[in-house]
């Protein structure tokens, strides 16, 4: 179990903090109704981690505001008392970005959960941050619209959390990440002030502050309202499945398809271990003898889909697909997707624990990287199942381990770290969509140099000079980087 000790070694600072905390709690009690404050250890237990449960920490106090005014008040109080604040939505994140701070306030945004307005003409929606991703798509459905970013946690995750992490999903290959589907954000600064970034239009004059804010992992401000783009539902959606004898052939198929200029709505890949686990779990008829599967979704008008379907089928055949199955109807398409969507829990059934990675690599390196991961898997003696967004090169290797066996979690983390540095080595990144949070801090100095990291820190200071917003996450401190580099060279 990982816990973070944020205890300061400075006795003067410690005494100051203790005084601040008592005053802060008293002020918060004035600001919020009793139901908006959680202080007991037992009641705070459900909030001690996000989706990456190996990192846990109880906060000092948990607050659940219901209005924007209350959010502003909470931030003002944290600022005036100099107490850290960690914002969170539904807590489905996978990088410990929403893990509480031992001496800080945990701000839970899930009660600001209203869809304020859906405009059918402009295909946009104004929402509060606690609105669930899928709830927005459901609400837009009668108008023939949907919200494109669809992370696998979409049934639970919130729009505010999606903005903080720049969430993707299986359809972001064609329709983009959160940053590509957002028009405006109203945020509360650490001083409690409201600032609106972006606008009603498509490109506002001046620097793109909205994009800077997206994916900033709660380090720059707290979202209280957002305006997002919705998309018209395509008249036709076609899903097909292709089975391969090797992951390399499947990887080559992906690169070849993109090179031909076809951008499917989704293009996912699963390896043998993931296929078997998923088929055992949901029984949708995946060929369990295949070494790799591609699931490809095409959308558009009938004419567009027919044209693309012919090209895609031919391309997959040319690159070694042994078997291609074209879904005959919506029910079969759903079934083909179901196995992919259930892949994580399915892997959970064949191993006591699993650890999900999130590197992104150039598409042409998929075959090489999967081979290297297989070698690393043997070296560390831990199985790895691969499920990923092949179309955009975003890997999700699932490292299987048993936390009750001494040293296995540590080995899983070391293997995970090696996979991430491998991604950087082939020109990729340590995180495609899950974020850095606390989890990937050790790899940040591997991906970025000192000048870039210093620039990140100065940018952070422009928003939050006292370093109160989600401290210890996302951007390593100078001291952290120096320690990291001395370890690397030691």
């Amino acid at each position: 179990m990982h816990t973070l000790s944020n205890t300061s070694n400075d006795p003067v600072k410690q005494a100051g903090e203790a005084g601040n905390v008592a005053a802060l709690i008293s002020d918060l009690q004035q600001l919020l109704p009793a139901s908006g404050l959680i202080m007991s250890t037992e009641s705070q237990r459900p909030f001690e981690c996000d989706g990456l449960a190996v990192y846990q920490q109880l906060p000092l106090i948990t607050v659940i505001p219901e209005t924007v005014d209350q959010v502003q008040g909470i931030l003002r109080l944290c600022y005036s008392h100099r107490v850290p604040l960690v914002p969170r939505g539904a807590g489905t994140g996978l990088c410990a970005g929403a893990m509480p701070h031992a001496e800080g306030v945990l701000l839970v945004m899930t009660k600001l959960n209203k869809i304020l307005h859906i405009n059918q003409h402009t295909a946009t929606a104004r929402v509060q941050p606690g609105v669930r991703n899928l709830a927005l798509t459901d609400a837009a459905k009668p108008m023939g619209l949907y919200y494109a970013p669809d992370p696998s946690s979409q049934i639970a995750c919130t729009i505010g959390g999606n903005i903080s992490e720049n969430s993707g999903g299986v359809h972001c290959l064609k329709y983009g990440l959160t940053v590509n589907n957002l028009l405006q954000v109203t945020l509360v600064t650490i001083e409690g002030k409201l600032i609106t970034l972006g606008g009603d239009g498509l490109d506002e004059p001046g620097m793109d502050l909205l994009s800077l804010f997206v994916g900033s992992e709660g380090l720059l401000g707290v979202v209280v309202e957002a305006k997002v783009k919705l998309l018209p539902r395509a008249p036709r959606v076609q899903v097909l499945l292709a089975a391969y004898d090797s992951v390399t052939a499947a990887g080559d198929s992906v690169a070849a398809l993109i090179a031909q200029g076809i951008i499917p709505a989704g293009l996912e890949m699963m390896d043998h271990l993931a296929i078997s686990a998923a088929e055992d779990f949901v029984k949708v008829g995946y060929p369990t003898d295949a070494q790799a599967l591609l699931i490809c979704e095409l959308d558009g008008t009938d004419a567009e889909v027919e044209e693309q379907l012919a090209v895609v089928s031919q391309c997959f055949k040319n690159h070694g697909a042994k078997h291609i199955r074209i879904a005959k109807d919506a029910a079969e398409a759903d079934a083909l997707w179901q196995g992919r969507k259930a892949a994580f829990p399915a892997v959970g059934r064949i191993s006591p624990d699993y650890y999900c990675m999130d590197g992104t690599i150039p598409r042409s390196k998929v075959g090489y990287v999967l081979t290297r991961i297989s070698e690393l898997s043997n070296t560390y003696g831990l199985r790895v199942a691969n499920v990923f967004h092949a179309g955009d090169g975003n890997l999700h290797p699932l490292i299987l381990f048993d936390a009750s066996v001494d040293g296995e979690l540590e080995r899983a983390e070391l293997l995970g770290g090696d996979i991430l540095t491998l991604c950087v080595d082939v020109g990729g990144t340590i995180t495609g969509e899950h974020g850095v949070g606390l989890e990937k801090m050790p790899q940040m100095p591997y991906q970025f140099g000192d000048a870039e990291l210093a620039q990140f820190r100065r940018l952070k200071a422009a928003f939050d000079s006292e370093e109160l917003l989600n401290p210890g996450k996302g951007i390593p401190t100078l001291k952290y980087c120096q320690e990291y580099r001395s370890l690397q060279h030691g």
Binding site: Q120, D200, D208, G432, G449
Partner: protein, 346 residues
């Protein structure tokens, strides 16, 4: 094909020490945008060339001084294109200036802006430090998004040295249809059609005509064209119209006129009191050519013409202004990079 990064770094390092104001320039095609500034010129015109181009990955990395026209020619050889279709301003505009000034063509509502295709960039900050942000992969959420922050910053946060861009395949077919309509009726049609999942890549209203451009696969374009009806525009005239629109040639202010830009929700009514000259981006961008110096509506950008020392981008709220000043300081503490280009206070 010259890499001047080291020389550019040295120039900025020297300016940092001597606190010398710098003016970033390459093709000098965007002097009409933003505010007028002065300073020692940082000449990007010779910092050119393709660093890497993987046609099968649909990714290109080029130095900032590379011309848009040359880039378009290179990509056309591989049947690929820049998704944001920027203007080339008589062939002289460069990719660095295009990113810095956030220049996007008529397909903006459907294929996104510069930020939607930008994967990474090299940047020299006001200390003279060369840095790399983002990369060449499709998804990357490590660290703050310094890359996209540069779109529209007009060089005020750093000198862009190279950019990595996600490309798209060239359209196989294209077709433009026109409809005789008033602006009000055209706006209704645009809103209706924009939500129909049709292969539309442009909808603009100019001088009593609604222009609808369809681009994509053969059958998709043909069936959409049959569905919409309207008058077919021959391919030469269509090309000329979309080119003139993109390059800003449709509306040219005379010396006593100002071209104003409005950006907002596409269903905003046409303001009766103002003389809307052009509707673009399916209603989300509108242009007003007016005589005199007073803005005909609130919240407009003084796009071209008029006093270029005024606050051409309009007012900013006090907390937002303070935040932008702190961000400027984080990149450029001595305020030497394109000072005053965006706002007088930055």
């Amino acid at each position: 094909m010259v890499d001047l990064t080291q020389q550019l770094e040295e120039q900025i390092q020297h300016a940092y020490v001597t606190k010398t104001p710098l003016k970033i320039q390459a093709g000098n095609t965007k002097a009409h945008l933003g505010r007028e500034t002065s300073g020692e010129v940082v000449d990007m015109a010779n910092h050119t060339g393709v660093v890497s181009y993987s046609a099968t990955e649909l990714v290109i990395r080029v130095r900032a001084g590379t011309k848009i026209s040359q880039l378009n020619d290179l990509l056309a050889e591989q049947q690929q294109r820049l998704p944001f279709d920027p203007p080339s301003f008589n062939g002289e505009a460069t990719i660095g200036g295009t990113v810095a000034a956030n220049q996007t063509g008529a397909s903006r509502p459907w294929f996104g802006g510069v930020k939607d295709s930008l994967l990474g960039l090299g940047l020299i900050n006001g200390y003279g430090e060369a840095m790399q942000f983002g990369g060449q992969v499709m998804k990357n959420v490590a660290g703050f998004d310094v890359t996209r922050l540069q779109c529209g910053a007009m060089g005020s946060l750093g000198l862009i040295t190279d950019v990595s861009i996600k490309l798209l395949p060239e359209f196989k077919a294209g077709h433009t249809v026109t409809f005789e309509m008033t602006a009000e009726v055209a706006l209704e049609a645009m809103l209706r059609w924009a939500n129909l999942s049709l292969p539309i890549t442009g909808m603009s209203h100019f001088q009593g005509l609604l222009y609808v451009r369809l681009q994509g696969g053969d059958s998709g374009v043909t069936s959409a064209s049959n569905f919409l009806g309207g008058e077919q525009l021959n391919s030469v005239a269509a090309k000329e119209f979309w080119q003139a629109l993109k390059e800003g040639r449709l509306l040219q202010p005379t010396p006593n006129q100002i071209l104003w830009r409005w950006s907002g929700a596409s269903d905003s009514p046409i303001d009766a009191g103002s003389n809307t000259s052009l509707i673009n981006w399916a209603g989300a961008e509108r242009w007003i050519l007016e005589t005199g110096s007073n803005p005909p509506l609130e919240g407009l950008t003084q796009h071209k013409g008029g006093d270029r020392l005024a606050q051409v981008f309009g007012a900013v709220s006090p907390p937002q202004q303070a935040l932008q000043q702190r961000i400027k300081y984080a990149f450029d503490p001595h305020g030497i990079l394109n000072a005053g280009r965006l706002y007088s206070w930055m």
